[in-house]
């Protein structure tokens, strides 16, 4: 899932201040925490209250799109709702915001979120962590299902650095050393021999910027 956090309400209010009729578009896709209809409605309520203090009144329309990053879906769902709308506040990740900007080039599209990374949530703790860096050359088959590109602070491909201490990364005592995790995992699977295989340096071109379907 794409991990986003809410922008400060002041900042969002600043974006929409010059406009009156604002569409707030949620996204039911992969944003986590969820930014669907409930979040869109909550944001409209918060902004209305904040606007009142600044003597500014908005006319909010609230909607949601199954996947804002799908230009076909975004167009078919949002176009019929655009009459009279002077700006759009998107609750999607940066990809959704850009898709809307392409679909509605004449309208200002503002992000209500900051987009962080592709990650997963430890649900009990409510913590979201990066899991995939989109490198274009998936190594998970040989690293026990733990990605060193995304989860090692240094993105090392051939084992822990000297900064690994008691299973934690030298950059932050909260952060697990990815290579320690990989070692423990491979040990459980009796596959420690995989660590002895040397690996060529990463080909950064594989990450790419475009693929075709």
């Amino acid at each position: 899932m794409i991990v986003t956090t809410q922008k400060p309400l002041d900042e969002v209010l600043g974006f929409i201040a010059p406009y009156t009729s604002v569409l707030i578009a949620g996204c039911d896709g992969c944003t986590q925490p969820p930014r669907g209809l409930r979040e869109a409605k909550t944001l409209s309520q918060l902004l209305e209250l904040a606007g009142r203090i600044q003597k500014k009144s908005f006319n909010f329309k609230v909607t949601t799109v199954a996947k804002q990053c799908d230009n076909y879906l975004a167009a078919s769902i949002l176009k019929p709702q655009m009459e009279g709308v002077s700006a759009v506040l998107s609750l999607a990740c940066g990809i959704g915001v850009q898709t809307l900007a392409e679909v509605f080039p004449e309208l200002p599209i503002f992000p209500a979120q900051n987009t962080h990374f592709m990650g997963a949530e430890e649900r009990e703790a409510g913590i979201l962590e990066e899991r995939c860096a989109g490198c274009g050359d998936c190594l998970l088959a040989v690293t026990g299902g733990i990605c060193p590109v995304a989860r090692c602070s240094k993105g090392l491909l051939s084992g822990a650095c000297g900064g690994s201490k008691e299973g934690k990364c030298e950059l932050s005592p909260d952060r697990d050393c990815a290579w320690c995790l990989i070692y423990e995992q491979l040990k459980k699977q009796n596959k420690l021999h995989l660590l002895k295989e040397s690996r060529p340096p990463r080909d950064y071109q594989l990450s790419g910027w475009r693929v075709t379907t």
């Binding site: 309400l9 039911d28 969820p34 930014r35 669907g36 909550t42 918060l46 649900r123």
Partner: protein, 386 residues
């Protein structure tokens, strides 16, 4: 805190002098608050464990137990007044946990007009209330209890079932109809709007009872036998696809509109877990205070808190049970978390101080009043909201 509480008024008392140690109360008490002391044979009451279900009060043969809520006098007073007000000879005694709105209850029993008596658990109604109601000219008594397995007080519904069988047998001998008292059971459950569901699975994570299941393909289904109607999933659903029977979004919104227009300033709206504090049978709350009772504080919805502010309410309070007292599976902790999350966002627009979460218990009846008093004072100091 605990020293504090020993000085407080408590809702249940035991007049030990009259106690014959028959142990009816300790057998019935679902919480081991009443216990027979192994050495002395005396019954002891540990108020800190009491959840104020009233089973002991209703069933003690010697009237040893006193309760501040819905005692015999206040129940009979209420009946006398309500009989005039509602002009009906049918009494319907309803548990808060299972009663839908008045129309729903009418349909369940097929009685368009009735005298409503809404209590937390029908198990707390003493036999005398049934008999005196008949003496007052009431001809028919309907009782709506929760399904036995969903009784928030564990034994209240089952005990009432047995009580009603016994009372009907007695009434039959006295020449009354054998079905003078009718018992129905009901439970309020979650409903899914498949058109709105986005199959995100949030409800699967939040449901404390594993009632929600998400299949791919297949979408969301709820096992209604497992659902206990806390409403946590409803408040957490990102797609607003879920509703809880009797506590629909729209119904709560209408209450907010009505209350905010009739309240005096500073307007304090309290979302109250219906097990955390019991309203009196008679009397209105203070003119600046209104309550919306919820099946559990975890049903409290961000929408409704914000909507209250939008509609001119000056302060919103959420009164929950403590986690230890929660009649659901620690759902009050989830409620606290969700209020705290909203509070962080309210801080950004200067409304944080206007939202207050507290946990209270009916065993200390002054607790909620004190919270309300302090919060009202604070809101008065802040002046008008939005």
């Amino acid at each position: 805190m605990s020293e504090d509480k020993t000085q407080q008024a408590v809702a249940v008392k035991q007049n030990i002098d009259y106690c014959s140690s028959c142990a009816v109360c300790s057998t019935l008490c679902p919480y081991e608050a009443l216990k027979k002391d192994a050495e002395t044979g005396k019954i002891t009451l540990d108020v800190t464990k009491c959840q104020v279900c009233g089973l002991c009060y209703a069933n003690c043969p010697a009237r040893v137990i006193d309760t501040l809520y819905y005692d015999l006098d206040s129940l009979l007073n209420y009946l006398e007044q309500a009989k005039k007000e509602y002009a009906s000879d049918t009494l319907t005694i309803m548990c808060r946990g299972s009663a839908p709105d008045i129309d729903g209850v009418s349909k369940l029993f097929g009685t368009p007009k009735f005298i409503p008596l809404l209590v937390p658990c029908v198990g707390r109604i003493p036999d005398e209330v049934y008999l005196k109601a008949l003496l007052m000219g009431i001809n028919k008594i309907n009782v709506l209890a929760c399904d036995v397995d969903y009784c928030r007080f564990e034994r209240g519904s089952a005990v009432t079932g047995r009580k009603i069988i016994a009372l009907n047998l007695l009434l039959d001998q006295l020449g009354y109809r054998r079905d003078t008292i009718t018992l129905k059971r009901n439970s309020l459950k979650v409903k899914v709007d498949a058109n709105l569901c986005i199959a995100c699975g949030n409800c699967v994570f939040f449901c404390p009872y594993n009632a929600a299941e998400l299949k791919s393909p297949g979408g969301i289904t709820f096992d209604l036998d497992a659902c206990r109607g806390c409403g946590l999933c409803v408040a957490m659903c990102p797609a607003t696809a879920l509703e809880l029977e009797n506590w629909e979004q729209e119904r709560i919104s209408q209450l907010i509109s009505r209350f905010s227009s009739e309240m005096k300033s500073p307007k304090i709206l309290t979302f109250r877990c219906q097990w955390a504090s019991f309203p009196p049978l008679n009397g209105e709350p203070a003119p600046n205070i209104r309550f919306i009772d919820l099946p559990c504080a975890s049903r409290v919805d961000r929408f409704h808190i914000l909507e209250a502010f939008q509609k001119g309410v000056d302060g919103v309070m959420v009164a929950a049970c403590s986690e230890d007292d929660c009649k659901q599976e620690r759902a009050s902790g989830k409620a606290q978390h969700s209020v705290a999350t909203l509070s962080d966002r309210l801080e950004q627009i200067g409304f944080k101080e206007r939202l207050h979460f507290c946990s209270v218990s009916p065993r200390y009846p002054e607790e909620l009043d004190r919270e309300l008093e302090q919060f009202s004072q604070k809101i008065k100091g802040l002046g008008k909201g939005g």
